[in-house]
Amino acid sequence: MKTLAYGVFFAFSTFSAIAQKQDSILFYNKGNIIETVFDVEEILVRPSCACVGECSCAMTAEDNYSENRFSCTDAILAKNGRIELMKRGGFAFEPVLNGMASDRLNLTIDGMKIFGACTDKMDPVTSYVEPNNMKSVSVQHGSAGSMFGSSLGGSVNMETNGATINPSKPLTGEVGVGFQSAALGANALFSLNYSRARWAIRANGVYRNFQNYRSGGGKIIEFTQFEKWNGAISAKYMPTDRDVIRFDLIIDEGYNIGYAALPMDVLFAKAKIYGLTYQHYPSQVWFEKFETKVYSNTVNHSMDDTKRTNVVMHMDMPGWTKTFGGYADARMKFGKHQITARMDGYHTNARAEMTMYPNNEAPMFMLTWPDVNKLDFGLFVQDKIQFNIKRSLSFSGRIEYLNTSVIDAFGVQQAAVFNQDVSKADHRMLKNANISYMEIPGKGFSGWLTAGYAERAPSVTEQYAFYIFNAYDGFDYIGYQNVKTEKAAQGDVGFQFENKRFKARATGFYYHIYDYILGAIDSSLDAMTIGANGVKVSRNLSWAYMTGGNLELSYSPLKILTLSNTSSYTYGNTFEGDPLPLVPPFKNVSSVNWSHKRGFVQLECEAAANQPRTNPEFGERITPAYAILNARASYFFLFGKKRLTLNGGIENLLDNNYRQHLDWGGIPRPGVNGYLNVSFTF
């Protein structure tokens, strides 16, 4: 494992020393992201560290870019070359990995399944965990991520910090404030960790308050404001040197969140997330780790149109999800084989209502998600064979049983109107398999090749949506219970070269998707939403494909100077040759980084080509090319072991008016934005 540690710590050589300390397969750590080909390992191997189990010896989050802790989680994710963001307002962007959005991804927090409660995807899971509570984000592509669930695009698991047992430093923490000009935004954050010999407790919190932002050219974009706080408490206890018990609680509450691209805003979005974990590190050499976890979470989401003018009719749109689940996994080593096995299960309920209030008439009520229960059990096994220091092969497979049922009779009656009988449960078996081969052919060179087969179940919306309005294409969506499971044959390839001064990494993927789920216009149906273009019903496209790749280059002519360049491109087509909707265009980020012991200065140019490949049925418009300039700097002062960090910058220096292709509603992104963050770490 250690010898196999593979990847490049990209972008900021200043921090590469930190990364090398870690037994992680790091590739890109600017945003605490660990991207892996094979596996993710975020803890130190026992003998090398005084504290058994998780420990503070390599807390990358502490050492990293202090700016990250002021960013939103989605912004950090977007620094990954294969992740883009779908933007609908000023907050809570939906991550898109390999051209695929949240329905096709696993988004987990510490391996916990959590489902957004908004039918309009206003609350992706990433909005419920904050960077100052995040240790790492692991991104696994395609079926390689099936440890966390069946998915097509891959898995994004956000690992929270958790309490750190480190009696030599009983009290550690951080306080910080930040301001930014485009939205007159204020951030405040703190974290505190208190440790005794056998236990520790950590608390952290974030408060953010942002006004409507100003776009390039000076226009204020209404309904991009938001306010939120996030608090987390983590407690860890080690009854023995080989056992760790951990409890986590995360509470996230957002209020008055504007969604400029949608006809409604969010009144509130509240999540409560609980997890209880037990880890055991057996004394047997072959049995490396056993971990089990139980968790539950609830999300309560409510939309709001009361601040909008020209609302034809006021409506309430609350939504809820309630999830509980658990998993148990074991990691074993038999000679060259490292075997990981996981059993997991969860139960989730999703319900969303819509009530419209016409004048002097009875309210109009319907269930946009008809109280849907999902019961899921999965089994994952991975065998990683390390032939020698240069070659390894990994097999993984997952089998998952999913039972979906509508429990509200009202929902069953509603669906009957569309000649759908949803009174009986929907059963599916989902199969995922992956094989990866990795080789280090020479000094500094490495490469890998993976092939996979993935299946994913349709989402609640895809199966049971009842007149869910999509503001992008202007259609009301109706689910179809019997929509077929989406399947994909996948290939992922990567190559990397690294020497003292130069690093290059290229990855490519091709996903051939069968029974691609997409709404198809049903002209026999009347739209419900006033002004909507019509009705789309979930259907399977015979096939579609998604392909793309990225290239990352970095050159350090001097020890303190690094030039880097990242390009990414995704291309998606239906079997009929039409472009798949919402596929990001070619994008390039170049930067010059000057680093110093105490900080850095960075000048960055972010540019994207136009996206002429649009899906007209999805109402896509051509997005023009853009380029923006960003400048960032950071410096810290030391007071003994305490550290005061200042970081600031100006984003979109030239105040360009631009938008990205995945942004909804043609709404421009923020214009010139100066920001300054101050944090004190002790």
Binding site: M356, F410, V412, V417, N419, Y467, S524
Partner: protein, 275 residues
């Protein structure tokens, strides 16, 4: 009304117990009928034949398609008679003129649960003026006579009967009545209307072989619902289909009534509110 019904039931039960006591050897005749959920509208004796007639309905009376249940009893023994020939004649006396209404006599001489189901379409409301004449020929004792009840018919909200001038026959009138769903739900509902023609002031036969199209819509939203089944002729002026509602609130069911390809009326509609 309910109180009087209870009295009646208790009274009937008492009386019948007494009589049952006297004629133990005879066939057990049901002395009560199942009037659960029904409202007594009127009660009286026929002019001849010694028959007591109780008139029930599902609710107090409104100008709409109205189901009636006639209970026939022997006036002396008060036993329920289950074999009788019954004929209705509704009448509206407007002082300057009189007219009848569409009606449906019991389809059989055999009672159902001790009651003879029948129906009248009150095409207009009236606090006074409406009467219902019931002619009974009971086949148990052979008695025959009639009774006339004055009725109070209120105006329902929303409207449940439309009287329109047919485009293909301006001298006639077309009476369209909403029958069900009485308790509409989100989802699929049985839909039923009746169509009657005013041939004369006294004759309102049910219309057969018309084509009816329905189009539900939410007036405040402007949308409809899919997969409705147009009502088709079920005999006796009744047309049955399916109407779908996708959400609660106020719905308007628009009607298009045709005789073959000739439009007879396309103005009529009924409104329903789903709570």
């Amino acid at each position: 009304m309910k109180v009087s019904m209870k009295f009646l039931i208790v009274g009937t039960a008492l009386v019948s117990t007494l009589f049952a006591g006297c004629k133990k050897e005879e066939d057990p005749t049901p002395s009560t009928s199942n009037t659960d959920g029904l409202v007594m509208i009127a009660s009286g004796y026929t002019d001849e034949g010694g028959i007591k007639v109780n008139l029930y309905s599902t609710d107090s009376l409104y100008s709409r398609y109205t189901n009636f249940f006639v209970e026939v009893r022997d006036s002396a023994s008060n036993t329920v008679i289950e074999d009788a020939h019954i004929e209705l004649m509704p009448m509206m006396d407007m002082t300057t003129m009189m007219h009848s209404a569409p009606f449906e006599n019991p389809s059989s001489t055999d009672a159902v649960n001790g009651l003879f189901p029948c129906a009248v379409v009150f095409q207009m409301p009236g606090d006074m003026g409406w009467t219902l004449n019931i002619h009974v020929h009971e086949h148990v004792n052979g008695g025959e006579g009639e009774v006339t009840f004055p009725l109070m018919v209120k105006n329902p909200d929303p409207t449940r009967t439309r009287v329109v001038t047919p485009l293909n026959d301006p001298m006639s009138r077309l009476i369209i009545s909403y029958v069900q769903p009485m308790d509409p739900k989100v989802g699929i509902n049985d839909f039923e209307i009746t169509l009657h023609s005013r041939e004369t002031m006294m004759s309102f036969p049910g219309i057969e072989n018309y084509t009816v199209e329905i189009e539900p819509e939410m007036p405040s939203m402007g949308h409809g619902s899919p997969n409705n089944v147009n009502p088709t002729d079920a005999g006796n002026g009744h047309y049955n289909g399916k109407v779908n509602f996708t959400m609660t609130g106020l719905w308007r069911i628009n009607l298009n009534i045709m005789d073959g390809s000739t439009v007879v009326d396309s103005t009529a509609y009924f409104e329903v509110t789903l709570q």
